[in-house]
């Protein structure tokens, strides 16, 4: 029977919802147990939040000032030490998990499953390749531990209402000092978080400038939506990089995605394939985004967006 260790992601004393999505993926294994490991400096709040995720047996905590910031080469040896006794170690396919989990896999001497979309068996999974243009079924070697990053857009958040035990774990691992955290320039805002928002309004190169992006923010505020962007909009400096949606940005699955002035390159579409409803607003009726949009509107975004806000009342 499987035993799964899920690596918690957190920032500023708050658990990232990606963790509860990893628990859903873990539950798909029908495991004997799912434990969560929280590595932090001050971890009380995060551990308590993790303990509420339904289906979790134990939250194992490792408090250490060295864990104040998620430095992969510092966290990985601790996780690898704790991984003994588990058949699977899962982390989210966020930048945190992508940075960290391959280090854990390398320490355990196994290949990693990236972007796990579906569980077909204890060692058989589905994952996307070629920017999501092919889905492969991959069989990991029987008998070895499975390390995976979980594609968060493929899994719902596990329910709350659990009451796992929280216990401190002791780990013997030499931690390197060769990597030092300097700063995080957070784009922290009061807006909904792009990765968990139910509605997202994204702007592309068609928006034209940082100033013009105000109309994207304005529509997003009206809808209580998060703001996203295409790579072209980020490259042009209209918005910060953490708003990028796509193959190399964030993969999201909101109920409603409104793409404004975005052409619909495959690298962008791979980030929104799991959205409930996709709306496209573009002045070019032949833009590829219309091939996948549920609702399309051809026209000038500078006329349509104000009209849309008005029509929303």
């Amino acid at each position: 029977m499987a035993k799964v260790l899920v690596v918690a992601e957190h920032l500023g004393g708050k658990l990232n919802s990606a963790t509860a999505r990893c628990v859903s993926a873990a539950a798909a294994l029908n495991p004997e147990a799912i434990d969560i490991v929280v590595l932090a400096d001050d971890l009380a709040g995060v551990a308590a939040e993790a303990a509420q995720i339904a289906g979790v047996r134990t939250v194992r905590t490792v408090a250490n000032p060295a864990n104040a910031h998620p430095v992969a080469q510092v966290l990985a040896p601790q996780i690898a030490a704790l991984a003994a006794g588990y058949s699977h170690v899962f982390g989210p396919s966020t930048t945190f998990g992508k940075d960290l989990m391959p280090c854990v896999a390398a320490l355990l001497g196994v290949e990693q499953v990236s972007d796990l979309m579906a569980v077909e068996g204890s060692h058989v999974f589905k994952r996307p390749i070629y920017a999501g243009n092919a889905i492969v079924t991959v069989e990991m070697p029987a008998g070895s531990a499975v390390v995976a990053t979980v594609r968060t857009a493929s899994w719902p958040e596990a329910a709350r209402g659990g009451s796992a035990t929280v216990e401190a774990a002791s780990v013997e691992a030499a931690l390197p000092t060769h990597t030092r955290f300097v700063a995080l320039a957070g784009a922290s805002s009061d807006r909904p978080d792009l990765q968990s928002a139910r509605r997202v309004v994204s702007g592309g190169r068609g928006v034209g400038s940082e100033e013009n992006f105000r109309i994207i923010y304005s529509l997003a505020d009206k809808l209580g939506a998060a703001v996203g962007a295409s790579r072209a909009a980020v490259d042009a400096g209209y918005v910060p990089s953490d708003l990028q949606v796509g193959q190399t940005g964030k993969i999201i699955a909101p109920d409603l995605y409104i793409a404004v002035g975005i052409s619909g390159a495959i690298q962008h579409l791979t980030g929104i394939k799991d959205a409930g409803t996709i709306v496209a607003i573009n002045k070019d009726g032949d833009a590829p985004i219309f091939e996948i949009a549920d609702i399309g509107l051809v026209g000038d975004l500078f006329q349509i967006l104000p009209a849309l806000e008005q029509a929303l009342g």
Partner: protein, 248 residues
């Protein structure tokens, strides 16, 4: 200072990938192959460090079948000093690739290893992290800015929460994100010059790198498609359609 750049050949990013009807793979016959876009960025960064006088030598390495020589010539034309071709008939999974790269690192003793953050064929995003781990050295993934000063580097990383800055001791592994730089175009005279640059060929088996059992891909499928929906003529119709779906 010496820089080693991992330079993978992949299906060009503009190619629309087709899954074979029998699910045995994707169609790669006759499709255009190009350097992995992130690896071009990694190489460009190495060349800029050499242009600035920080680095003295830039070595590119690829693990690929025997027909990948033109790919390496391309990197040499871009400006690398020399190339190492590890010949492998089959694609390697990331830990196997990282183990092979580690052998090159042990031979070459670079001060910095630059890789792409992910290869756009397998989209694994693992090799750099695994190499750093096996090597026991620092990693800074998803780099959008790199400053090397003495025995240290300061790296700005694109993370979900914004931009993170790390300071790392050298030698170290850095993986390139899209906004690190814009790769230069190759000029015709450089293509000629590249023909006489050193290109060393090694058999994967001779490297002596260890690789555990490989994952097996048992089936390829096209993604669940999304089909074309309806067109509306103005904002009012759009709002009506959204209301009908209960989305606003």
């Amino acid at each position: 200072m010496k820089i080693l750049v991992a330079y993978k050949r992949v299906v060009d990013f503009n190619v629309r990938i087709q899954v074979k009807p029998d699910g045995s793979g994707v169609v790669t016959d006759g499709v255009k192959l190009s350097p992995n876009p992130f690896d071009d960025i990694a190489l460009e960064e190495a060349l800029r460090l050499r242009d600035k006088g920080v680095a003295t030598e830039v070595v590119i390495a690829t693990i690929a079948p025997a027909d990948a020589q033109p790919h390496l010539r391309n990197g040499l034309a871009m400006g690398a000093n020399r190339a190492i071709h590890v010949v492998a008939d089959q694609p390697l999974a990331p830990l196997a690739a990282a183990s092979a790269l580690l052998k090159l690192v042990e031979r070459e003793q670079p001060d910095l290893v630059l890789l792409g953050k992910q290869a756009i064929d397998d989209d694994a995003n693992q090799t750099g992290q695994m190499l750093a781990t096996l090597w026991g050295r620092p990693q800074a993934t998803f780099a959008s800015k790199l400053d090397v000063d003495g025995g240290k580097a300061t790296v700005v990383r694109e993370v979900d929460a914004g931009l993170e800055t790390l300071e790392i001791d050298l030698p170290a592994v850095v993986t390139a994100d899209l906004r690190l730089n814009e790769p230069r175009f190759i000029k015709l005279p450089d293509i000629m010059k590249a023909k006489s640059k050193p290109l060393e060929t090694l058999a994967l088996a001779d490297l002596g790198s260890a690789a555990g059992p490989a994952p097996k891909i048992t089936h390829y499928a096209p993604p669940a498609g999304r089909s074309r929906g309806v067109m509306v003529k103005d904002a009012a119709e759009l709002v009506a359609a959204l209301k009908q779906k209960g989305l606003v």
